[in-house]
């Protein structure tokens, strides 16, 4: 398996702020790579460097073997880009936007007409092809942007928060398309805030925080490495005193989540016994009791040191 994206010691400063701080990682050819991080962590700066919009202060990035600074045209030629905010020309029709992007990528006229027709049909926009993008909904704009990103048949697709702000149906369609494109051989580089999305879509994930890579691995390995985040979840027939629960010896932390209580522990087996003992002693009936592996969200919050709320 080859390397689609190679990043070495990439650094970018904005004045006194270090947006990206000496990061290095690789993205395998044919994979879906998730790039996660809280707001302001450096995700968009990294994606902007990789797509040639801004230059790094230090370090090097190659896309499909092309150095983005030394061979920008070759590197950009093999990319498709779906930015967080739609950047189609709203005063042009969907069709004209596709023709323009096709021309910018040097796609021959006959081929770009064929591809534009096929893509617009696939993304249910063909009937609206002559309508100005100004009148499109956010979901339609996002689908058009994906069409524009695919008109050059890229080897790698960069998606910056592709489902942000979309309704449930459009987001689902977008995720299905990403999977389908990846199945067709396109490498996907994805930034998202949606942990469930990252967990389902990505085969490797990097978590960036304060401009640095906090962790990089498969979603499953990231979850398994965080044994301290294992938990059990229980609900009782009566409200319980959270202060009492916090005193149970084998429980690290108890957290109320709706009508359930989540107990963080390094030993779920012992914690189960403790909780059952607690229920017996206090004449409580256990309604549900489950052991939980740490979710990607738990891992993310731990690594980015964001405090739990509630």
């Amino acid at each position: 398996m080859g390397i689609a994206v190679a990043v070495h010691n990439l650094t970018k400063h904005y004045g006194d702020i270090t947006a990206v701080d000496n990061i290095s990682f690789e993205v395998n050819h044919g994979g879906i790579f998730g790039f996660l991080g809280p707001n302001g962590a450096g995700k968009t700066t990294t994606i902007r460097i990789l797509t040639g919009i801004i230059k790094p202060d230090e370090g090097k990035a190659t896309i499909m073997g092309h150095d983005i600074e030394k061979e920008p045209l070759q590197a950009k030629q093999v990319m498709g880009i779906v930015p967080e905010m739609s950047n189609a020309y709203i005063d042009l029709s969907a069709w004209d936007n596709l023709m323009l992007i096709g021309e910018l990528y040097g796609v021959p006229k006959k081929l770009r007409i064929e591809r534009a027709k096929r893509l617009l049909e696939k993304f249910s926009l063909y009937d609206r092809r002559d309508q100005l993008v100004r009148g499109f909904s956010k979901g339609m704009k996002q689908r058009l942007i994906l069409c524009m990103a695919l008109i050059n048949e890229p080897s790698i697709l960069f998606l910056d928060e592709p489902t942000s702000g979309l309704d449930v149906e459009s987001a689902k369609l977008m995720r299905e398309m990403i999977t389908e494109l990846n199945d067709g051989g396109i490498t996907v580089f994805l930034t998202t805030h949606n942990m469930e999305e990252a967990n389902k879509l990505c085969d490797r994930i990097a978590i960036i925080n304060h401009g640095r890579i906090a962790a990089i691995d498969t979603p499953e390995n990231l979850r398994m490495k965080s044994s301290s985040l294992q938990s059990i979840e229980a609900s009782f027939d009566y409200m319980v005193n959270m202060d009492d629960l916090a005193k149970i010896s084998c429980i690290k932390q108890a957290e109320k989540m709706g009508d359930k209580i989540k107990f963080y522990t390094s030993d779920p087996n012992e914690a189960l016994h403790c909780v059952m003992n607690y229920a017996r002693l206090h004449n409580l009936r256990i309604i549900t009791l489950n052991t939980l592996a740490p979710s990607l969200e738990d891992v993310f919050l731990k690594l980015t040191q964001t405090k739990h709320e509630g």
Binding site: K76, P83, Y89, D91, G106
Partner: protein
């Protein structure tokens, strides 16, 4: 074909795609066309009504104003507009060189300037203004329109803002003084010495002088000097706009 030449042509083709886009989005709007036609005419009339001058004498100044104002009318606002709508990011991350992006904008200004400037030229011919040297007029119109189109893109270099009004206001501060010192309203030979020096600093002076030569057969500077200086201004504006935009472009994305 040599690889570098083939890449150059490929990039030039992509420039034309940007040019077509600019014309469709920014130039082919009724108000823009009307403004391009009416504004130089009214400004010119404001300075000539009541003075006893013939159409032949009026022609160089009117043509100069038409070429100058139409070729610089929309160019300065394109980049702030595209910065704001994030479409500039789309262009920058596509496989198009920075120079090709700005060439596209310059070509669009050039085509718009040429087409609109043909109107006063045709009107002048219809009302009986005799052009004695059409070749000089044609070459100078092409050169001057390209020069002013390059200037229009140069005018949006700084500040690297996403507010079109800011750029338009600042560009007016440069465009209007240039018109007043360029022998449009008063021929250069009738200007005082200090004004002649000031006039020599404006590219519009040389075009107005050439337009005067095309109808009257006389010019203040010689035709080769006019053409050479106009070409030099064109090169300076062209290279300056590309280089300075390359320099300030990152600030538009920060």
């Amino acid at each position: 074909m040599l690889p570098s030449l083939s890449i150059f042509w490929e990039q030039l083709e992509r420039s034309f795609a940007i040019c077509k886009k600019d014309i469709r989005i920014y130039y082919s709007k009724g108000p823009v066309v009307v403004f391009g036609l009416i504004f130089p005419l009214f400004l010119f009339l404001a300075f000539t009504i009541g003075r006893n001058v013939t159409a032949k004498e009026l022609f160089p100044g009117l043509l100069g104003m038409a070429v100058f104002f139409t070729a610089t009318s929309v160019g300065p606002a394109i980049l702030p507009w595209e910065t704001r709508s994030k479409t500039l990011e789309r262009l920058v991350c596509s496989p198009v060189s920075t120079w090709a992006i700005f060439f596209g904008d310059i070509f669009a200004s050039f085509i718009f300037g040429m087409l609109i400037s043909l109107v006063p030229l045709v009107v002048a011919l219809v009302i009986g203004v005799e052009i004695t040297n059409l070749l000089v007029l044609g070459i100078s119109m092409i050169l001057a329109t390209f020069c002013f189109a390059s200037l229009s893109v140069l005018l949006s270099v700084y500040p690297p803002t996403d507010i079109p009004a800011t750029v338009m206001m600042l560009s007016s501060l440069i465009k209007f003084p240039l018109v007043f010192i360029s022998g449009v309203f008063v021929p250069v030979e009738q200007l005082p010495e200090w004004a002649k020096i000031a006039a020599s600093l404006s590219p519009l002076t040389y075009f107005t002088d050439l337009a005067g030569y095309a109808v009257n057969g006389v010019s203040y500077y010689s035709v080769p000097v006019d053409l050479a200086v106009l070409a030099a201004f064109t090169l300076v504006f062209l290279i300056g706009s590309v280089k300075l935009h390359e320099r300030f472009l990152p600030q538009r994305f920060s």
